[in-house]
């Protein structure tokens, strides 16, 4: 891999940008790998990258049914934050946050991580109490956070309607200055390029249609395009399709897959230099570098794999955004799309061994997977390399739904579900 640098930029400018090296190979799969990662989204690619980089594994394949980052990695609203209430979740997301802070240098790829701050609004007294509790918990865990009152919110976001005229007035917010946004495609491409350079085979357009099991242990995968590929260990990072891949291996997961949608507006001049989220009115908004407003909605209530959201949810979200930001009422929406998010009952991920030996799952990131990409890959790589959960991954076992040790982030963390 040729490293990107200012010098390379000048050199290629003189050659009409025609000789850039391909970012990753397109290899034919081998018949056997030490480790197969199923799913070539951000989390899967990050897993492969950290396996190669930190665990000296080089005989690894990432198998992706579509193209890299074509699922939820390319469909989210790119928000990165770590202000979770419970210790287990806070440690995991903060681990990811620390990796984000050095990610562009680490990957030699500009992921455009912009720490512009994230504001989680409170609209009633109980919201504000919860916010205070969460910010205090964050600080005890070494995560930055502040409680803002309505006036401070107004100063940071002048276009927001913080007055008393709204149905759900803004009373204040929690504010995490280190949070922000990143370029989602660049995260997938950066990890893919860096993993490929370390010898990982990235196999696209190859759909796994069965997981092969002998004597209760996974031995490989059967694929639609390239037949059987065997492996010593298999890690499934299949997000919304995790229920389907688990069914291939013969067990159920505590998950339901829901459509989660987002939309972007036409590009306009800069009006919002931070991220505003509201759990109560179900909408969040930021502005991309290109100028379009990126707006996220809540999930649709039913199980769905259609990668499109429902109209009532669009309407609901548009109402919320218009009430918070009356100034955008005449902005046209350009595009709308949905991703399939696999949500666990406690809204926390599953990073876990399974009833099948040598088969591991990293899923259930639900509505908040993008922010965790580096941390998720980092801990899951450790699990695949060593065959057991490390301290950070341990609380996220799928068997917590048997013994009752849930991590109840659902209502607690100001997460926009």
């Amino acid at each position: 891999m040729k490293r990107y640098s200012g010098f390379q930029l000048v050199k290629h400018a003189l050659q009409h940008q025609e000789n850039w090296q391909r970012m990753w190979r397109n290899p034919k799969p081998k018949s056997h790998y030490d480790i197969i990662v199923v799913g070539g989204g951000g989390h899967g690619l990050a897993t492969a990258y950290y396996l190669a980089k930190l665990h000296n594994k080089t005989n690894i394949a990432v198998i992706e049914k579509g193209w890299l980052g074509g699922g939820n990695t390319g469909r989210n609203t790119t928000i990165v934050r770590s202000n979770y209430l419970w210790d287990e979740a806070a440690h995991l997301y903060e681990h990811a946050m620390k990796l984000w802070e050095g990610l562009s240098q680490d990957l030699n790829y500009n992921v455009m991580f912009s720490q512009r701050g994230v504001m989680n609004l409170g609209h009633n007294l109980q919201d504000m109490r919860d916010i205070q509790r969460r910010v205090n918990a964050n600080r005890l865990n070494g995560i930055d956070g502040e409680v803002l009152d309505a006036q401070q919110c107004q100063e940071i976001v002048p276009i927001m309607n913080c007055g008393g005229s709204t149905r759900y007035p803004v009373l204040g917010a929690s504010w995490q200055p280190r949070a922000g946004v990143a370029r989602h495609d660049a995260v997938a491409w950066g990890y893919a390029r860096a993993a490929d350079a370390l010898g990982v085979d990235i196999i696209q357009q190859c759909e796994v249609d069965d997981i092969l099991i002998e004597d209760g242990a996974a031995t490989g995968v059967s694929t639609r395009q390239h037949g059987v590929i065997t492996a010593d260990r298999i890690g499934c990072v299949t997000a919304g399709n995790s229920g389907v891949t688990a069914a291939m291996a013969g067990f159920k997961l505590p998950l339901e897959s829901h459509p989660l949608q987002a939309f972007v507006s036409e590009p306009i001049k800069p009006i919002l230099d931070t991220v505003v989220m509201s759990n109560a009115v179900h909408g969040y908004m930021s502005q991309s570098d290109k100028g379009d407003l990126v707006i996220g909605a809540g999930i649709d209530g039913y199980v769905g794999y259609g990668q499109r959201g429902s109209y009532p949810t669009i309407e609901h979200t548009a109402q919320a955004i218009m009430e918070l930001f009356p100034v955008v009422s005449r902005v046209h929406m350009n595009r709308q799309w949905g991703g399939i998010v696999d949500t666990a009952p406690d809204a926390c991920p599953i990073i876990s061994a399974t009833p099948v030996e040598n088969l591991f799952f990293n899923c259930a990131w639900g509505t908040g997977g993008f922010k965790a990409t580096p941390g998720s890959g980092h801990v899951f790589a450790d699990m695949l390399a060593k065959g057991k959960a490390n301290k950070m991954a341990k609380p996220f076992s799928m068997f917590r739904f048997h013994d009752g040790a849930l991590i109840d982030e659902h209502g607690a963390a100001g997460v926009a579900h």
């Binding site: 399709n241 229920g243 389907v244 069914a247 159920k252 997961l253 505590p254 998950l255 339901e256 897959s257 649709d300 209530g301 039913y302 199980v303 769905g304 794999y305 259609g306 429902s310 109209y311 009532p312 696999d342 666990a344 009952p345 739904f401 048997h402 013994d403 009752g404």
Partner: protein, 102 residues
């Protein structure tokens, strides 16, 4: 937008009147005290979550407020029929698909 037939009201109504309540036909264990943690956990949390036909519980929350079941495809979003709780609906899915695509 779904147009959902409520078997209690015997009318088609629009989606915002309804609320999805997850997988249908989940039988509560008859003697919960006798369940192992695993059995109880399976009942509470583990779901089929299929990509395809799905029997699910809905409630007509802004209408008659009664629960009923829907047989729906989670990939195409086609609704194959609604039926009351305690009943069972068999649908020739292939035939249904042909009707809707013609």
């Amino acid at each position: 937008m779904f147009l959902i037939y409520c078997p209690h009201c015997e009318e088609h109504r629009e989606e915002p009147e309804f609320h999805a309540s997850g997988e249908a036909h989940l039988a509560r264990p008859e003697d919960p005290e006798a369940c192992t943690d695993e059995q109880w956990g399976e009942f509470l949390y583990f779901r089929k979550n299929p990509r395809g036909l799905h029997r699910e519980l809905w409630v007509h929350s802004a209408g008659c407020r009664k629960f009923f079941n829907i047989l729906r495809d989670t990939q195409t979003y086609q609704i194959h029929g609604s039926y009351k709780v305690g009943e069972w609906l068999e649908v020739d899915v292939q035939k249904d698909d042909e009707v809707s695509s013609s």
